[in-house]
């Protein structure tokens, strides 16, 4: 009796699982092209307009648009969706490293194999961007939508109060200024994220590395080499070590510390400008290129790191043709002035400065224009599926020990480099 009942229960359980899988498959077959984007107010404003435009002009292949469901990170939510086959056809807000992971798992379409790919790139003036930075294992899996380079902001009131007229270019000049500006535990020198979240290193260590190395990459994925133990890597580590050692940055988080005028300087992306203006309208600041080590040539341009997010097409898509048509239309270049207007993020294209369609916007937004002018000297993140592992190690071996002064900069750089190189050699 018990055995029969248990068998029945197991049948019910199996039937439930099978039926739920079947029903989701049916849904996938019947649906429109599904398009997911970043859960951001500014980006959503643009995307909703785009989807509205597309759907009114293409009633035969409508797009179902939604923001990536809430979660700790977009990547984790997407992974779950892909694994459970409930993911979209197209998704934006994908960073290069994640695209590489997805490409390795063979869930992405190699976009350069699709008809008209290079025409679209040419139309949007991004051929060189793609050729130089977005090839992974011989193909392009992600088209960058926007770039977000980093620059350094200084509090204008503090500059005026201290009578500073010449802004620092090198680390030494910066530390000399901090001696005058900082007040112990009241006014700090530089906002530095002390958290151990792997992606935060894009906005501090790796950004200053790009500047210190003259735009050289921090990894060579093909030769499985890391470059954190070179002159630039050690200089950047020494810089942050000194910042913490001298108390120019606290070892705890202060939310919007720069905006609350508790800090003299901060490394920030263009995306911060609009939010800062909205939430702290009285804050006055000056934006300049990043700091470089003292050895850096005076006449050389200052490079920066530009985080970038792009759009991918999943090969699980049942409507690849329609999806690609939408992507071609999206990247036709005609919508980038609207994009800038609504999102204030810089479109990933080579002609931002100089193209007449952007002149009015940049005249009205001179701070964002400063960022656009750095794009020629902005380097992208290295495309590797091991991004998370590498930056987790960077946190563990270099960043956290430096914050607490547990390792010398030379040893931290050496340890991080050795461990990352080992990880690169062992593969994903």
């Amino acid at each position: 009796m018990i055995n029969r009942l248990m068998t029945l229960l197991i049948y019910i359980a199996i039937y439930t699982i099978v039926m739920s899988c079947r029903s989701s498959k049916v849904e996938v077959d019947a649906k429109n092209v599904e398009y997911w984007t970043a859960p951001s107010v500014e980006l959503s404003r643009f995307e909703s307009k785009m989807v509205e435009k597309w759907n009114s002009s293409h009633p035969d292949s409508p797009i179902d648009w939604k923001t990536i469901p809430a979660g700790t990170t977009s990547e984790e939510v997407l992974l779950t969706a892909i694994a459970t086959r409930t993911g979209p056809d197209i998704c934006s807000n994908i960073f290069g490293g994640f695209a590489a992971q997805l490409a390795d798992a063979q869930v992405l379409v190699a976009l350069d194999t699709l008809p008209g790919f290079w025409d679209v790139m040419e139309k949007r003036k991004m051929t060189n961007i793609i050729r130089n930075n977005w090839f992974y294992k011989g193909h392009v899996y992600v088209i960058p939508v926007y770039v977000n380079p980093e620059m350094i902001w200084y509090n204008k009131k503090m500059l005026d109060k201290s009578g500073i007229t010449k802004l620092p270019r090198t680390y030494s000049e910066f530390f000399t200024l901090l001696e005058n500006v900082c007040i112990s535990q009241e006014v700090y020198g530089l906002t530095v994220d002390v958290s151990s979240k792997w992606y935060r290193r894009w906005f501090d260590y790796l950004t200053l590395y790009a500047a210190a190395s003259g735009g050289e990459p921090y990894l060579d994925v093909n030769r499985k080499e890391a470059f954190f133990n070179n002159e630039a890597g050690i200089a950047v580590t020494e810089f942050f070590f000194k910042v913490f050692e001298k108390g120019y940055a606290p070892r705890f988080e202060i939310q919007d510390g720069f905006q609350k005028e508790l800090f003299f300087a901060s490394i920030k992306g263009a995306g911060e400008i609009v939010r800062t203006k909205r939430m702290y309208p009285d804050l006055e600041y000056v934006i300049t290129p990043l700091l470089v080590p003292d050895y850096y040539p005076n006449d050389a341009p200052v490079y920066t790191l530009a985080e970038s997010k792009g759009m991918v097409l999943f090969n699980t898509s049942q409507q690849k043709g329609e999806s690609w048509d939408f992507m071609k239309w999206y990247f036709s270049g005609e919508h980038d002035s609207l994009w800038l207007e609504l999102t204030n993020f810089l479109p990933a294209r080579e002609d931002l400065i100089g193209n007449p369609i952007f002149i009015e916007y940049f005249n009205n937004n001179p701070d964002i224009k400063l960022y656009a002018e750095t794009l020629d000297f902005s380097v992208p993140l290295v495309l590797t599926p091991q991004t998370v592992e590498i930056q987790t190690i960077l946190n563990r071996e270099l960043w956290q020990p430096i914050i607490f002064g547990l390792k010398s900069p030379a040893i931290a750089s050496r340890d991080a480099n050795q461990t990352i190189q080992r990880i690169l050699k062992s593969g994903p």
């Binding site: 359980a13 439930t16 990170t73 694994a83 798992a105 705890f252 508790l262 956290q400 994903p428």
Partner: protein
């Protein structure tokens, strides 16, 4: 066969159906959400798999060997033990204290008891955010403490970050454990206290000689809950410190989560989970062997 006997057999059958019918939803739930994932987890722990790829390479016990040699496994273990040392005694003493107080309350006992339970039913993510704001470097608590010239790096000092998290978890589970203790206290017959009083036993003696020994079932279950929770701690460190500073709040479940869903090493994450489950069961087994006593009133 006699008719009455046939009726009895029929009746037993009907009761059997009703019984199995009542437990069926739970059994189905267990099969779908526990048995199936457990078996699946066991299978993939011997494989190299990145969740999304259809390819799963069999690699034997390599994942398990990697877990044992992973420094983060030992760091997490050390952190969990530290968490346990802080959390378990505090939560047991405080919840027993609250239960003893609640027992003395004559009116609105249920109101106060459910009041303490509010923290237990609040969402982990929500209160983690509230606590991280309250205790942050420039949060309310430190702002107030700064009036006395003190600033405590609750979550930013590697030495005290885990203890701070333990205190938050004590806040969450205090009410729940108090209710278990209260139920235990209420099940102790009052005649025992009355006869002890007649014999001249002081309150202190009564507490140690009657209350504590007879609370053993409640104490054992709370100890097991607290130890298992220590092994499973995730939301609070994940939300508040992210495992830092200096990995001082890294936990087993955070590692399992990171390996599986961020680094996409699902096989390794599964083997990590299995090793942790074995350790956790060993602890529970040891507690039951050493602490649990049969009691009779």
């Amino acid at each position: 066969m006699k008719i009455s006997k046939m009726f009895k057999i029929q009746e037993r059958k009907i009761y059997g159906f009703v019984g199995y019918g009542l437990v069926a939803p739970y059994i189905i739930y267990t099969i779908i959400f526990w048995v199936y994932p457990f078996i699946w987890g066991l299978i993939i722990s011997f494989k190299k798999w990145n969740i999304i790829s259809p390819e799963k390479e069999f690699i034997g016990i390599s994942n398990f060997l990697k877990v044992i040699h992973d420094p983060l496994f030992w760091i997490s273990f050390k952190n969990i033990l530290f968490f346990m040392i802080v959390y378990v005694p505090i939560v047991i003493i405080c919840s027993l204290g609250v239960a003893l107080l609640l027992r003395r309350i004559k009116f609105l006992q249920a109101f106060f008891a459910s009041g303490y339970l509010m923290s237990y039913v609040s969402a982990g993510v929500a209160y983690s955010i509230v606590f991280s704001l309250l205790f942050s470097g420039d949060g309310l608590i430190n702002n107030w403490l700064s009036n006395f010239g003190i600033t405590i790096p609750w979550f930013s000092s590697p030495k005290i970050a885990m203890a701070s998290i333990a205190i938050i978890v004590v806040w969450k589970y205090l009410g729940y454990y108090s209710l278990i203790f209260l139920a235990g206290l209420q099940s102790i017959p009052s005649s025992l206290y009355e006869s002890a009083e007649i014999d001249g036993a002081s309150n202190w003696t009564q507490f140690w000689r009657i209350t504590v020994p007879l609370l053993n079932p409640a104490f054992t279950i709370i100890l097991i809950f607290a130890v298992m929770l220590s092994f499973n701690i995730f939301t609070e460190p994940y939300m508040i410190t992210g495992g830092g500073p200096l990995d001082s709040t890294q936990t087993f479940v955070m590692q399992i989560y990171h390996q599986t869903f961020t680094a996409l090493h699902a096989g390794y994450g599964s083997s990590f989970a299995i090793v942790v489950a074995i350790i956790s069961f060993t602890f529970v087994f040891a507690i039951r062997k050493t602490v649990e006593r049969e009691i009779s009133y």
